[in-house]
Subunit: 230 residues, 2 copies
Amino acid sequence: MDDPGNGGHAALVQLQAYLAQMDHAGETRLPAERELSESLGVSRGDLRKALAVLEKDGRIWRHVGRGTFVGSGPVEETIGISEIAGRTNPADVMRARLILEPEIAREAALHATLSDIAAMRQSLVQTREAVTWRQYENVDNLLHRQIAQASRNNVLLGLFDVLNAVRRTVVWGRLRSEGARPPADHHSFADHERIVEAIAERDLGGAAAAMRLHLQQVERRLIPVREAAE
Amino acid sequence: MDDPGNGGHAALVQLQAYLAQMDHAGETRLPAERELSESLGVSRGDLRKALAVLEKDGRIWRHVGRGTFVGSGPVEETIGISEIAGRTNPADVMRARLILEPEIAREAALHATLSDIAAMRQSLVQTREAVTWRQYENVDNLLHRQIAQASRNNVLLGLFDVLNAVRRTVVWGRLRSEGARPPADHHSFADHERIVEAIAERDLGGAAAAMRLHLQQVERRLIPVREAAE
DNA sequence: AGGGAAATCATATGCGGATTGGTTAAATTG
DNA sequence: CAATTTAACCAATCCGCATATGATTTCCCT
């Protein structure tokens, strides 16, 4: 062979050159090992040794069936809701809501458009018109999501959606007594109105505080009798 | 026909009965419309009218290619990172980090175990030992995730992972100048140490404040020259 | 022995057909 | 003629199988 005993060092040099050239072109996926080994004129074993070095250094990343890519790590393309929901409990979900949603309301108070506020007010009306708990929950969900949308920050909206999906998975099956309709003096009506009004008046702190108060009320009703445990 | 002019009311009644029977069996997916219409002895049009009523009421949910299901809504099983990242920008990501991560640090200060803190301190050392920016970023990522893990709240950890994946997708390609190693007086070293120390001392407010300060520094460096626009 | 090439394995992707809710046009019926 | 049923078609999804790819083992040649 040409360079016996080099232990594949030549392959590493060639591969780094190839990688630099490809990185410049903006391409992220490099050819299959079988092609690349022939293209670079090295054995597949040496190529794999060089790839292993670069992988340990964090410059490339490989996965069976997909290929080899340049970049620090495999960016998770999707997040499984059930994976999160499977290892948690309603209390943790509520804690996360108390952290995230008041600040989302604050952002909404800062960035909401007039049509956003109009949509929220319409949802407020629909909330009172709901004749069954199921309808009420649908409109309630919609209202909370409208607030997240009004933040005009798609990252916050995405986080809200994730949290919402986890919540609905965790508390799945906990239905209220069917048939009954939400009482007219349900705390959420006034809570929601306070939140929307604060957003409409661009009262950042007020919106956050109102949302926090509302969620604390929900928490109190959701976990009615909780001993001092934990 | 049997009951002309009933407008499909008979179909609605039959469908409700079927749904109750099926709901009792624990099954969530009901047969295809073509089968169910024949099974119930009603036309597909009337069946669809009845299904539309139940859908508007929130008792069922349907989607093309999947079927019709009982339940309030389609619980998104997975969230696409690229869907979020595609419609956002680094500033929104930074805003979300500033909202979420300080509160995560606060929770970590409350719930971190001794082994959590030991792992963080080891990461602090590794941060200073990094000889290339890529290594530094890997350890930095690890440290921030360790803090999220120390919150002992899997929902917060999941939200952090989502946010992190979005961040890495959005700022993808913005690599620092290769070759250079992080300077010894990089602000992040002291920032990180303050955060970990506050967590170790169970200083809730201090941990949150230190994290907020750190992220503001990162923001200042990430968006170096930003006019007063927006 | 030792290294390289080929075979083999396990996993991921791509593609075509089948399924299903949504929509429109034709047929039937009173 | 009007209303309703029926059929046909559309778009999105799922499923099975072939293919592609990285990982591992085996074999062969020097």
